[in-house]
Protein backbone atom coordinates (compact mmCIF):
# COMPACT_ATOMS: atom_id res chain seq x y z
CA UNK A 1 0.00 0.00 0.00
CA UNK A 2 2.82 2.35 0.97
CA UNK A 3 4.69 1.48 -2.23
CA UNK A 4 1.61 2.27 -4.31
CA UNK A 5 1.01 5.56 -2.46
CA UNK A 6 4.63 6.60 -3.00
CA UNK A 7 4.53 5.63 -6.69
CA UNK A 8 1.30 7.53 -7.30
CA UNK A 9 2.53 10.54 -5.28
CA UNK A 10 5.63 10.83 -7.45
CA UNK A 11 3.57 10.37 -10.65
CA UNK A 12 0.96 12.93 -9.54
CA UNK A 13 3.69 15.41 -8.63
CA UNK A 14 5.35 15.08 -12.06
CA UNK A 15 2.04 15.38 -13.93
CA UNK A 16 0.94 18.38 -11.86
CA UNK A 17 4.30 20.10 -12.49
CA UNK A 18 4.13 19.35 -16.21
CA UNK A 19 0.53 20.46 -16.67
CA UNK A 20 1.36 23.74 -14.89
CA UNK A 21 4.49 24.54 -16.89
CA UNK A 22 3.70 22.50 -20.07
CA UNK A 23 7.39 22.85 -20.89
CA UNK A 24 7.95 19.42 -22.39
CA UNK A 25 4.35 18.64 -23.40
CA UNK A 26 4.00 21.69 -25.66
CA UNK A 27 7.42 21.08 -27.21
CA UNK A 28 6.73 17.39 -27.83
CA UNK A 29 3.21 17.93 -29.21
CA UNK A 30 4.22 20.70 -31.59
CA UNK A 31 7.34 18.79 -32.67
CA UNK A 32 5.24 15.68 -33.47
CA UNK A 33 2.68 17.62 -35.47
CA UNK A 34 5.35 19.53 -37.41
CA UNK A 35 7.10 16.27 -38.39
CA UNK A 36 3.79 14.76 -39.51
CA UNK A 37 3.08 17.87 -41.56
CA UNK A 38 6.54 17.94 -43.18
CA UNK A 39 6.43 14.24 -44.08
CA UNK A 40 3.04 14.76 -45.70
CA UNK A 41 4.75 17.14 -48.16
CA UNK A 42 7.44 14.56 -48.90
CA UNK A 43 5.14 11.69 -49.88
CA UNK A 44 1.91 11.52 -51.83
CA UNK A 45 -0.80 10.96 -49.21
CA UNK A 46 -2.95 9.07 -51.69
CA UNK A 47 -0.28 6.55 -52.71
CA UNK A 48 -0.09 2.91 -51.62
CA UNK A 49 3.45 3.63 -50.48
CA UNK A 50 2.14 5.62 -47.54
CA UNK A 51 0.06 2.65 -46.35
CA UNK A 52 3.13 0.44 -46.39
CA UNK A 53 5.18 2.89 -44.32
CA UNK A 54 2.41 4.24 -42.11
CA UNK A 55 3.44 2.31 -38.99
CA UNK A 56 7.09 3.27 -39.41
CA UNK A 57 6.29 6.91 -39.91
CA UNK A 58 3.96 7.04 -36.93
CA UNK A 59 6.43 5.38 -34.54
CA UNK A 60 9.33 7.55 -35.68
CA UNK A 61 7.24 10.57 -34.80
CA UNK A 62 6.18 8.99 -31.49
CA UNK A 63 9.72 8.05 -30.48
CA UNK A 64 11.19 11.47 -31.38
CA UNK A 65 8.55 13.35 -29.43
CA UNK A 66 8.79 10.87 -26.53
CA UNK A 67 12.50 11.72 -26.20
CA UNK A 68 11.52 15.30 -25.36
CA UNK A 69 9.21 14.09 -22.59
CA UNK A 70 11.71 11.54 -21.26
CA UNK A 71 14.56 14.05 -21.19
CA UNK A 72 12.67 16.00 -18.56
CA UNK A 73 11.74 13.00 -16.42
CA UNK A 74 14.67 13.16 -13.98
CA UNK A 75 16.01 16.54 -15.15
CA UNK A 76 12.86 18.03 -13.61
CA UNK A 77 14.36 17.20 -10.20
CA UNK A 78 17.58 19.19 -10.72
CA UNK A 79 16.41 22.72 -9.86
CA UNK A 80 16.70 23.27 -6.08
CA UNK A 81 18.37 19.81 -5.71
CA UNK A 82 14.97 18.12 -5.36
CA UNK A 83 16.43 14.77 -6.42
CA UNK A 84 18.53 14.68 -3.24
CA UNK A 85 15.43 15.10 -1.09
CA UNK A 86 13.67 12.29 -2.98
CA UNK A 87 16.63 9.92 -2.73
CA UNK A 88 17.14 10.68 0.96
CA UNK A 89 13.45 10.06 1.70
CA UNK A 90 12.28 6.51 2.49
CA UNK A 91 10.72 6.16 -0.96
CA UNK A 92 12.20 3.07 -2.59
CA UNK A 93 14.11 3.45 -5.84
CA UNK A 94 11.53 1.23 -7.52
CA UNK A 95 8.61 3.42 -6.40
CA UNK A 96 10.46 6.55 -7.50
CA UNK A 97 11.26 5.01 -10.89
CA UNK A 98 7.76 3.65 -11.50
CA UNK A 99 6.17 6.95 -10.44
CA UNK A 100 8.32 8.84 -12.91
CA UNK A 101 7.74 6.26 -15.65
CA UNK A 102 3.98 6.38 -15.05
CA UNK A 103 3.91 10.17 -15.41
CA UNK A 104 5.95 10.05 -18.64
CA UNK A 105 3.73 7.19 -19.92
CA UNK A 106 0.60 9.32 -19.48
CA UNK A 107 2.21 12.33 -21.16
CA UNK A 108 3.49 10.29 -24.13
CA UNK A 109 0.08 8.61 -24.53
CA UNK A 110 -1.54 12.06 -24.64
CA UNK A 111 0.87 13.15 -27.39
CA UNK A 112 0.16 9.93 -29.30
CA UNK A 113 -3.61 10.36 -28.95
CA UNK A 114 -3.26 13.92 -30.22
CA UNK A 115 -1.16 12.81 -33.22
CA UNK A 116 -3.41 9.97 -34.42
CA UNK A 117 -6.25 12.10 -35.84
CA UNK A 118 -3.72 14.54 -37.33
CA UNK A 119 -1.95 11.56 -38.93
CA UNK A 120 -5.28 10.28 -40.29
CA UNK A 121 -6.12 13.65 -41.84
CA UNK A 122 -2.68 14.47 -43.33
CA UNK A 123 -2.19 11.01 -44.84
CA UNK A 124 -5.80 10.20 -45.64
CA UNK A 125 -5.70 6.99 -43.59
CA UNK A 126 -8.36 5.36 -41.47
CA UNK A 127 -6.33 4.35 -38.41
CA UNK A 128 -9.36 3.16 -36.44
CA UNK A 129 -10.21 -0.03 -38.30
CA UNK A 130 -8.78 -2.23 -35.50
CA UNK A 131 -9.09 0.07 -32.49
CA UNK A 132 -8.71 -2.54 -29.73
CA UNK A 133 -5.58 -4.12 -31.26
CA UNK A 134 -4.12 -0.71 -32.05
CA UNK A 135 -4.72 0.45 -28.48
CA UNK A 136 -2.98 -2.68 -27.17
CA UNK A 137 0.04 -2.20 -29.44
CA UNK A 138 0.28 1.50 -28.57
CA UNK A 139 0.06 0.79 -24.82
CA UNK A 140 2.66 -1.99 -24.90
CA UNK A 141 5.12 -0.16 -27.16
CA UNK A 142 4.71 3.12 -25.30
CA UNK A 143 5.41 1.44 -21.96
CA UNK A 144 8.51 -0.15 -23.48
CA UNK A 145 9.75 3.23 -24.76
CA UNK A 146 8.90 4.88 -21.45
CA UNK A 147 10.59 2.37 -19.19
CA UNK A 148 13.83 2.36 -21.24
CA UNK A 149 13.77 6.14 -21.64
CA UNK A 150 13.12 6.80 -17.96
CA UNK A 151 16.01 4.55 -16.97
CA UNK A 152 18.38 6.39 -19.28
CA UNK A 153 16.95 9.70 -18.11
CA UNK A 154 18.12 8.72 -14.61
CA UNK A 155 21.50 7.63 -15.97
CA UNK A 156 22.12 10.87 -17.86
CA UNK A 157 20.55 13.31 -15.39
CA UNK A 158 23.89 14.70 -14.20
CA UNK A 159 25.49 14.93 -17.64
CA UNK A 160 25.90 18.34 -19.20
CA UNK A 161 24.98 17.05 -22.67
CA UNK A 162 22.06 14.92 -21.50
CA UNK A 163 19.71 16.25 -24.21
CA UNK A 164 22.06 14.73 -26.79
CA UNK A 165 23.18 11.71 -24.79
CA UNK A 166 19.69 10.46 -23.97
CA UNK A 167 18.54 9.88 -27.58
CA UNK A 168 21.96 8.45 -28.50
CA UNK A 169 21.72 5.89 -25.72
CA UNK A 170 18.00 5.20 -25.89
CA UNK A 171 17.31 4.69 -29.61
CA UNK A 172 19.53 1.61 -30.03
CA UNK A 173 17.79 0.05 -27.03
CA UNK A 174 14.39 0.88 -28.55
CA UNK A 175 15.01 -1.04 -31.77
CA UNK A 176 13.11 -4.23 -30.78
CA UNK A 177 10.16 -2.24 -29.43
CA UNK A 178 10.00 0.08 -32.43
CA UNK A 179 10.39 -2.78 -34.95
CA UNK A 180 7.48 -4.67 -33.39
CA UNK A 181 5.32 -1.56 -33.05
CA UNK A 182 5.99 -0.50 -36.66
CA UNK A 183 5.19 -3.93 -38.09
CA UNK A 184 1.98 -4.32 -36.11
CA UNK A 185 0.78 -0.74 -36.61
CA UNK A 186 1.25 -0.95 -40.38
CA UNK A 187 -0.77 -4.16 -40.35
CA UNK A 188 -3.56 -2.70 -38.22
CA UNK A 189 -3.82 0.53 -40.20
CA UNK A 190 -4.19 -1.63 -43.34
CA UNK A 191 -7.28 -3.07 -41.66
CA UNK A 192 -5.87 -6.52 -40.88
CA UNK A 193 -6.17 -8.16 -37.47
CA UNK A 194 -3.15 -9.61 -35.70
CA UNK A 195 -3.02 -13.31 -36.47
CA UNK A 196 -0.62 -16.21 -37.01
CA UNK A 197 3.05 -15.23 -37.20
CA UNK A 198 2.27 -11.62 -36.30
CA UNK A 199 1.85 -12.69 -32.69
CA UNK A 200 5.64 -13.00 -32.53
CA UNK A 201 5.82 -9.19 -32.63
CA UNK A 202 3.21 -8.89 -29.90
CA UNK A 203 5.12 -11.38 -27.74
CA UNK A 204 8.29 -9.38 -28.39
CA UNK A 205 6.59 -6.22 -27.13
CA UNK A 206 5.38 -7.98 -23.99
CA UNK A 207 8.78 -9.59 -23.41
CA UNK A 208 10.67 -6.30 -23.79
CA UNK A 209 8.25 -4.58 -21.41
CA UNK A 210 8.66 -7.24 -18.73
CA UNK A 211 12.44 -7.56 -19.05
CA UNK A 212 13.22 -3.85 -19.08
CA UNK A 213 10.75 -3.04 -16.31
CA UNK A 214 12.31 -5.73 -14.10
CA UNK A 215 15.85 -4.59 -14.95
CA UNK A 216 15.05 -0.95 -14.32
CA UNK A 217 13.37 -1.62 -10.98
CA UNK A 218 16.31 -3.80 -9.91
CA UNK A 219 19.04 -1.36 -11.01
CA UNK A 220 17.59 2.08 -10.34
CA UNK A 221 19.00 2.28 -6.80
CA UNK A 222 22.52 1.71 -8.15
CA UNK A 223 21.96 4.24 -10.92
CA UNK A 224 20.77 6.94 -8.51
CA UNK A 225 23.11 6.41 -5.57
CA UNK A 226 26.04 4.43 -7.00
Amino acid sequence: MNFLTQTLSVAAKDLRSEFRTKESFNAAASFAIVILLLFSFAVDPTSDQIREMSGGLLWIVYSFSAALILNRSFARELPNDCLDALIASPVSGAALFLGKALASFVLILLIEALCLPVFGIFYDLNWATQPAWLALVVLLATWGMTVIGTMFSALTVNLRLREIMLPMLVYPMLIPTLMAAMQLTTLLIAGQAIAGDDFVWLRLLIGVDIIFTALAVALIEVVLVG
Partner: protein
Protein backbone atom coordinates in the same frame (compact mmCIF):
# COMPACT_ATOMS: atom_id res chain seq x y z
CA UNK B 1 23.98 2.64 20.41
CA UNK B 2 25.61 5.62 18.70
CA UNK B 3 23.44 7.83 16.50
CA UNK B 4 26.17 8.00 13.86
CA UNK B 5 29.15 5.71 13.44
CA UNK B 6 31.74 6.50 10.79
CA UNK B 7 34.37 3.77 10.50
CA UNK B 8 37.60 4.08 8.46
CA UNK B 9 35.74 5.99 5.78
CA UNK B 10 37.34 6.78 2.44
CA UNK B 11 35.74 8.47 -0.54
CA UNK B 12 37.47 8.80 -3.87
CA UNK B 13 36.43 10.90 -6.85
CA UNK B 14 38.61 9.31 -9.51
CA UNK B 15 42.12 9.36 -7.98
CA UNK B 16 41.32 12.19 -5.59
CA UNK B 17 40.59 11.15 -2.01
CA UNK B 18 37.92 13.54 -0.74
CA UNK B 19 37.72 11.68 2.60
CA UNK B 20 40.71 9.85 4.05
CA UNK B 21 40.27 7.32 6.81
CA UNK B 22 37.64 9.34 8.70
CA UNK B 23 36.65 7.58 11.90
CA UNK B 24 34.39 8.96 14.63
CA UNK B 25 31.05 8.50 16.40
CA UNK B 26 28.24 10.85 17.36
CA UNK B 27 26.16 10.22 20.45
CA UNK B 28 22.34 10.36 20.32
CA UNK B 29 20.90 13.72 21.37
CA UNK B 30 24.09 15.64 20.62
CA UNK B 31 24.67 18.51 18.23
CA UNK B 32 27.88 18.20 16.26
CA UNK B 33 29.37 21.06 14.29
CA UNK B 34 31.18 19.65 11.29
CA UNK B 35 33.82 22.23 10.50
CA UNK B 36 36.54 22.69 7.94
CA UNK B 37 37.73 24.94 5.17
CA UNK B 38 36.24 24.78 1.67
CA UNK B 39 37.08 21.43 0.11
CA UNK B 40 37.75 19.77 3.47
CA UNK B 41 35.13 17.09 2.73
CA UNK B 42 32.20 18.26 4.87
CA UNK B 43 29.57 18.04 2.14
CA UNK B 44 30.93 14.70 0.92
CA UNK B 45 30.68 13.29 4.44
CA UNK B 46 27.15 14.63 4.93
CA UNK B 47 26.04 13.21 1.57
CA UNK B 48 27.34 9.79 2.58
CA UNK B 49 25.56 10.05 5.94
CA UNK B 50 22.34 11.00 4.11
CA UNK B 51 22.64 7.99 1.80
CA UNK B 52 23.08 10.19 -1.27
CA UNK B 53 26.52 8.80 -2.01
CA UNK B 54 28.26 5.55 -1.16
CA UNK B 55 31.66 5.28 0.52
CA UNK B 56 34.61 3.96 -1.48
CA UNK B 57 35.88 2.19 1.64
CA UNK B 58 34.76 2.00 5.23
CA UNK B 59 31.42 1.88 6.92
CA UNK B 60 28.71 4.28 8.04
CA UNK B 61 25.75 3.43 10.27
CA UNK B 62 22.91 5.55 11.56
CA UNK B 63 21.41 4.11 14.75
CA UNK B 64 23.11 0.85 13.80
CA UNK B 65 21.67 0.70 10.29
CA UNK B 66 23.20 1.57 6.93
CA UNK B 67 22.09 4.97 5.56
CA UNK B 68 20.17 3.38 2.64
CA UNK B 69 18.06 1.28 4.99
CA UNK B 70 14.41 2.39 4.83
CA UNK B 71 14.11 2.80 8.62
CA UNK B 72 17.30 4.85 8.76
CA UNK B 73 16.06 7.14 5.98
CA UNK B 74 12.76 7.65 7.80
CA UNK B 75 14.75 9.12 10.70
CA UNK B 76 16.80 11.58 8.64
CA UNK B 77 15.94 15.19 7.93
CA UNK B 78 18.25 17.00 5.52
CA UNK B 79 18.88 20.56 4.54
CA UNK B 80 21.43 20.70 1.74
CA UNK B 81 22.74 23.41 -0.51
CA UNK B 82 19.50 23.41 -2.53
CA UNK B 83 16.15 24.05 -0.86
CA UNK B 84 14.68 20.83 -2.34
CA UNK B 85 11.20 22.16 -2.92
CA UNK B 86 9.29 22.35 -6.19
CA UNK B 87 8.68 25.80 -7.66
CA UNK B 88 5.65 24.66 -9.71
CA UNK B 89 3.80 23.27 -6.68
CA UNK B 90 2.10 25.18 -3.89
CA UNK B 91 3.51 25.19 -0.36
CA UNK B 92 0.84 22.70 0.74
CA UNK B 93 1.44 20.43 -2.27
CA UNK B 94 5.18 20.37 -1.54
CA UNK B 95 4.67 19.35 2.07
CA UNK B 96 1.90 16.88 1.20
CA UNK B 97 4.21 15.17 -1.29
CA UNK B 98 6.94 14.64 1.29
CA UNK B 99 4.43 13.72 4.00
CA UNK B 100 3.16 10.92 1.75
CA UNK B 101 6.66 9.79 0.83
CA UNK B 102 7.45 9.56 4.55
CA UNK B 103 4.13 7.71 5.06
CA UNK B 104 2.93 10.10 7.76
CA UNK B 105 -0.40 9.09 9.31
CA UNK B 106 -2.14 12.38 8.51
CA UNK B 107 -0.27 14.21 5.74
CA UNK B 108 -2.72 17.13 5.62
CA UNK B 109 -2.51 17.78 9.35
CA UNK B 110 1.30 17.58 9.24
CA UNK B 111 1.45 20.01 6.31
CA UNK B 112 -0.94 22.43 8.01
CA UNK B 113 1.00 22.26 11.29
CA UNK B 114 4.33 23.06 9.66
CA UNK B 115 2.93 25.81 7.47
CA UNK B 116 1.59 27.48 10.62
CA UNK B 117 4.84 26.90 12.49
CA UNK B 118 6.91 28.49 9.72
CA UNK B 119 4.46 31.37 9.23
CA UNK B 120 3.47 30.28 5.72
CA UNK B 121 -0.16 29.36 6.40
CA UNK B 122 -1.40 32.54 4.67
CA UNK B 123 0.28 31.45 1.41
CA UNK B 124 -0.44 27.73 1.79
CA UNK B 125 -2.02 27.44 -1.66
CA UNK B 126 0.26 29.83 -3.53
CA UNK B 127 2.85 28.48 -5.92
CA UNK B 128 6.38 28.45 -4.53
CA UNK B 129 7.69 30.26 -7.63
CA UNK B 130 5.77 33.33 -6.39
CA UNK B 131 7.47 33.20 -2.97
CA UNK B 132 10.20 35.52 -1.74
CA UNK B 133 13.59 33.98 -0.99
CA UNK B 134 12.93 34.03 2.76
CA UNK B 135 9.58 32.25 2.36
CA UNK B 136 11.18 29.56 0.21
CA UNK B 137 13.84 29.03 2.85
CA UNK B 138 11.23 28.68 5.59
CA UNK B 139 9.35 26.14 3.45
CA UNK B 140 12.58 24.19 3.00
CA UNK B 141 12.97 24.14 6.79
CA UNK B 142 9.37 22.91 7.14
CA UNK B 143 10.11 20.15 4.60
CA UNK B 144 13.16 19.01 6.56
CA UNK B 145 11.34 18.91 9.92
CA UNK B 146 7.99 17.65 8.58
CA UNK B 147 8.42 14.02 9.63
CA UNK B 148 9.96 14.77 13.06
CA UNK B 149 13.39 13.33 12.19
CA UNK B 150 15.61 12.07 14.98
CA UNK B 151 18.77 12.78 12.97
CA UNK B 152 19.18 16.13 11.26
CA UNK B 153 21.91 16.48 8.64
CA UNK B 154 22.37 20.12 7.78
CA UNK B 155 24.85 21.34 5.18
CA UNK B 156 25.61 24.99 5.82
CA UNK B 157 22.05 25.59 7.01
CA UNK B 158 22.49 29.26 7.95
CA UNK B 159 24.10 30.30 4.67
CA UNK B 160 21.97 32.81 2.74
CA UNK B 161 19.08 32.57 5.22
CA UNK B 162 17.37 35.82 6.15
CA UNK B 163 17.11 36.90 9.82
CA UNK B 164 13.65 35.38 10.28
CA UNK B 165 14.67 32.04 8.81
CA UNK B 166 17.84 31.95 10.94
CA UNK B 167 15.78 32.59 14.09
CA UNK B 168 13.26 29.94 13.07
CA UNK B 169 15.95 27.37 12.31
CA UNK B 170 17.75 28.04 15.59
CA UNK B 171 14.48 27.69 17.51
CA UNK B 172 13.61 24.42 15.76
CA UNK B 173 17.10 23.02 16.25
CA UNK B 174 16.97 23.87 19.96
CA UNK B 175 13.56 22.17 20.23
CA UNK B 176 14.81 19.13 18.33
CA UNK B 177 17.92 18.82 20.52
CA UNK B 178 15.77 19.23 23.67
CA UNK B 179 13.59 16.37 22.44
CA UNK B 180 16.62 14.12 21.98
CA UNK B 181 17.25 14.47 18.25
CA UNK B 182 20.80 14.33 16.96
CA UNK B 183 22.06 17.19 14.82
CA UNK B 184 25.08 17.17 12.51
CA UNK B 185 25.69 20.43 10.73
CA UNK B 186 28.47 21.67 8.55
CA UNK B 187 29.00 25.39 8.56
CA UNK B 188 31.42 28.25 8.11
CA UNK B 189 29.45 30.38 10.55
CA UNK B 190 31.39 29.32 13.60
CA UNK B 191 29.64 31.56 16.11
CA UNK B 192 26.11 30.24 15.40
CA UNK B 193 27.32 26.65 15.12
CA UNK B 194 29.42 26.62 18.28
CA UNK B 195 26.62 28.20 20.34
CA UNK B 196 24.37 25.27 19.40
CA UNK B 197 26.95 22.51 19.29
CA UNK B 198 27.83 20.07 22.04
CA UNK B 199 30.55 18.47 19.93
CA UNK B 200 32.92 19.44 17.15
CA UNK B 201 34.42 17.49 14.27
CA UNK B 202 37.06 19.30 12.24
CA UNK B 203 37.97 18.06 8.77
CA UNK B 204 41.18 19.14 7.12
CA UNK B 205 41.85 18.08 3.52
CA UNK B 206 39.64 15.03 3.91
CA UNK B 207 41.15 13.89 7.20
CA UNK B 208 39.60 14.19 10.62
CA UNK B 209 41.84 16.72 12.37
CA UNK B 210 39.88 16.78 15.62
CA UNK B 211 36.71 15.30 17.11
CA UNK B 212 35.54 16.00 20.64
CA UNK B 213 33.29 18.08 22.83
CA UNK B 214 32.85 21.78 22.24
CA UNK B 215 34.94 23.54 24.87
CA UNK B 216 34.58 27.05 26.37
CA UNK B 217 37.81 28.06 24.59
CA UNK B 218 36.20 27.39 21.22
CA UNK B 219 33.21 29.52 22.10
CA UNK B 220 35.32 32.36 23.50
CA UNK B 221 37.58 32.47 20.45
CA UNK B 222 36.16 31.03 17.25
CA UNK B 223 39.60 30.94 15.61
CA UNK B 224 40.94 28.73 18.43
CA UNK B 225 39.84 25.51 16.74
CA UNK B 226 41.48 26.20 13.39
CA UNK B 227 44.56 27.63 15.09
CA UNK B 228 44.95 24.57 17.30
CA UNK B 229 43.95 21.74 14.99
CA UNK B 230 43.46 23.24 11.53
CA UNK B 231 46.85 22.48 10.08
CA UNK B 232 46.99 18.93 11.36
CA UNK B 233 47.34 16.43 8.54
Amino acid sequence: MQAVTVGRLWKYFGDYAALRDVDFTIAPGSCTALLGRNGAGKTTLLRILAGLSVPSKGEVTLHGKPPRDGDARRQIGIIGHGIAIYDELSATENLLLFARLYALADPRAAARHWLEKTGLDHVANSLVREFSRGMRQRLAIARAFLHSPTLLLLDEPFTSLDDRAIALLQQLLNEAIAQGSTVVMSTHQLREALELATGVALLHRGKLAHAGPRTPEMLADTSYLYRTYGDAS
